[in-house]
């Protein structure tokens, strides 16, 4: 149930759709969106592909080089190191975040919680904090100057590891994104759970199913669609990682390289290196990787649906 995949029109949309011969009437509503969409989505994609086929040379100026930029990107160790980093991030942070979100959503749905609405709202709150502000705030908390980590070290006489050192920085960023998005995902899951018919639980309980059994056999399958959607959005989010490393770089210039994430690499190439054409190729490769991964997850997720 619940939005099984982005590509399938919900059954409900068929209701009330006029069955007569196709007309152009719908375009007066969809047209404005599509016009701006073409301007801010399709045109830049086209322009990026165009740019990526050229290269600016000292002699000869802007030259058509075919797929040379792509060849360079595919063999660029810095690019692959950035892809590997977000890949690792995705494999560790996304499951932890979604697991926590699911746990809280199930707890809220179980009806066995005191102060349910307080928890629902408070855990969701960080989502309303802009990511830049969240990164600034956590940066301060991590920081050695007046950070909480430093405070705790002083107060308790312990020496916690510096969260901004190169080996921990990715985990520290993971903590920030988990903090920001756990509540959002929790709400998506919780909303999906709300619409599962309660009668299903009742009949399962009459059949002697315990709470865990109901969760495993009824609740989780029922919200699989929401789980797939949340996973896809989290994957896209991980590949786009930019704000947090960009902000934390002030505090940890040595731990965060100019090719820390693919986006950051494309940014550095454009604005520090003036390599517009190569940067466009990197962006295109990254978009293709994202689409492939998101598509595979969607395919797998919906196949298991039945």
């Amino acid at each position: 149930m619940a939005v099984p995949q982005l590509a399938a029109p919900p059954a409900a949309s068929r209701m009330g759709v006029r069955r007569r011969r196709p007309s152009f009437k719908g375009w007066q509503f969809v047209g404005p969106f599509m016009f701006v969409f073409a301007l801010v989505f399709l045109a830049p994609i086209g322009y990026a592909i165009y740019l990526s086929l050229f290269r600016n040379r000292l002699i000869g100026g802007n030259q058509f080089v075919g797929l040379d930029n792509y060849q360079q990107a595919l063999t660029d160790p810095q690019f692959w190191s950035s892809v590997g980093r977000v890949g690792l991030f995705l494999l560790v942070q996304v499951p932890i975040m979604l697991f926590l979100a699911l746990l809280v959503a199930l707890a809220l749905d179980s009806g066995r919680l005191y102060g349910k609405s307080f928890f629902r709202v408070s855990i969701f709150l960080p989502y309303a904090v802009p990511t830049v502000v969240a990164a600034l705030m956590w940066g301060f908390i991590y920081g050695s100057q007046f950070g909480l980590v430093g405070n705790i070290n002083d107060a308790l006489g312990v020496s916690l590891p510096d969260p901004l050192k190169p080996s921990l920085i990715l985990a520290s960023i993971g903590n920030i994104t988990t903090w920001e998005f756990v509540g959002y995902n929790m709400l998506i899951f919780y909303s999906a759970l709300q619409v599962v018919p309660k009668s299903l639980y009742e009949s399962a309980a009459i059949d002697g199913a315990g709470q865990w059994r109901i969760i495993r056999s009824i609740k989780i399958p029922a919200i699989r669609g929401a789980l797939v959607i949340a996973t896809i959005f989290s994957i896209i989010g991980s590949f786009q990682l930019f704000n947090e490393p960009a902000i934390l770089r002030n505090l940890a210039p040595n731990a965060i390289t100019s090719y820390f994430t693919p986006n950051f690499y494309a940014y550095s190439l454009t604005f520090a290196g003036q390599q517009f054409n190569y940067s466009a190729a990197v962006a295109v490769v990254m978009a293709v990787i994202t689409i492939i991964v998101a598509y595979v997850v969607q395919l797998r997720g919906t196949k298991e649906l039945g």
């Binding site: 006029r18 969106f33 399709l42 928890f119 502000v133 909303s191």
Partner: protein
């Protein structure tokens, strides 16, 4: 929704419920503690922000992070300083953010509502192509588009103007999707047919009949596009050179980075207080509109 919708359902709709047959399930203290930990995790950083916004720049360094600085309560002077520092540029950033949110997120919501309604309630030539293109584009990271967009906009001379930030925020594929599912459920087809039989034009039908029914969906979409616009850092960062056009996010980080530059004054207390002001405004918007977006979200995930 939850509380408002559940209570009547329990008392009126279902004559035989689980609670009628069995004793009501008791609350679990263990479970509450577990979720309480998550809630603490969510709230502690916000508490840190609140506490530290009451400290002076020196106080930040000399006092414990999770408690107030003895004797000095500088919240009000910090707020005053935040709004007056550097010629009062913070108010300018606040105003810019407001413009970007109102025009950008407002426009995005409008386009999404219009488009979602069109997709849900009409069959038209090219509908399949619209689906394919929009859904394919969802997977393209917006940030991957930012650099080409920048290069394109600089050709048209749009960079370093508010339009460079507003135009790209006008499109929210997620908003379109949300409104499409919402419109499909919330608006009965027979009602539209009746309006057509009565001779009402399509636009009139939309504004008079459909929009009121789409209320919760519109609020939900508006809030999510608002968050997206507020979260927008990469785009304004590359598009804008003139600090007078910065949104809060870029401005606050500029203040933060200032300490690292040669001869730059460290104003961490103002960064913290400015962050607090930003957060409070957003949280206020979310909490006052809670009722609407929560029912909107639920409806967005309903099928059948």
């Amino acid at each position: 929704m939850t509380t408002t919708a559940q209570t009547p359902a329990r008392t009126t709709k279902k004559p035989v419920t689980l609670s009628a047959k069995k004793p009501r399930r008791k609350g679990s203290i263990m479970l509450t503690l577990l979720v309480g930990l998550m809630s603490l995790y969510a709230l502690v950083p916000l508490g840190w922000l609140l506490i530290n916004s009451t400290k002076t720049q020196d106080g930040l360094f000399s006092s414990f992070g999770l408690w107030f600085d003895d004797g000095k309560f500088a919240l009000f002077s910090n707020i005053a300083d935040t709004f007056t520092y550097d010629g009062g540029i913070f108010s300018r950033w606040l105003l810019n953010t407001l413009i970007y949110v109102v025009v950008g997120a407002g426009g995005a919501t409008f386009l999404a509502v219009l488009g979602g309604y069109g997709l849900a309630k009409f069959n038209f030539v090219g509908k399949k192509a619209v689906f394919a293109i929009v859904l394919g584009a969802v997977a393209v990271p917006p940030t991957a588009l930012a650099v080409p967009t920048f290069l394109m906009f600089s050709k048209f001379g749009l960079t370093n103007t508010p339009w460079a930030v507003i135009i790209p925020s006008l499109i929210s594929p997620f908003g379109l999707y949300l409104m499409w599912t919402f419109a499909a459920q919330a608006i009965p087809g027979e009602m539209l047919e009746a309006a057509r039989v009565d001779g009402a034009g399509e636009m009139r039908t939309f504004f008079k009949l459909a929009v009121p029914l789409l209320g919760p969906g519109i609020v939900t979409t508006a809030l999510f596009t608002m968050v997206a616009t507020m979260n927008n850092y990469f785009l304004p960062l590359i598009m804008l050179k003139d600090p007078d056009w910065y949104p809060l996010t870029v401005g606050l980080n500029a203040w933060n980075a200032q300490a690292a530059t040669a001869g730059g004054e460290a104003v961490f207390n103002l960064v913290i207080t400015g962050s607090l002001v930003t957060v409070v405004l957003l949280l206020a918007a979310f909490l006052t509109l809670q009722r609407y977006w929560q029912s909107g979200l639920t409806a967005g995930s309903v099928k059948e």
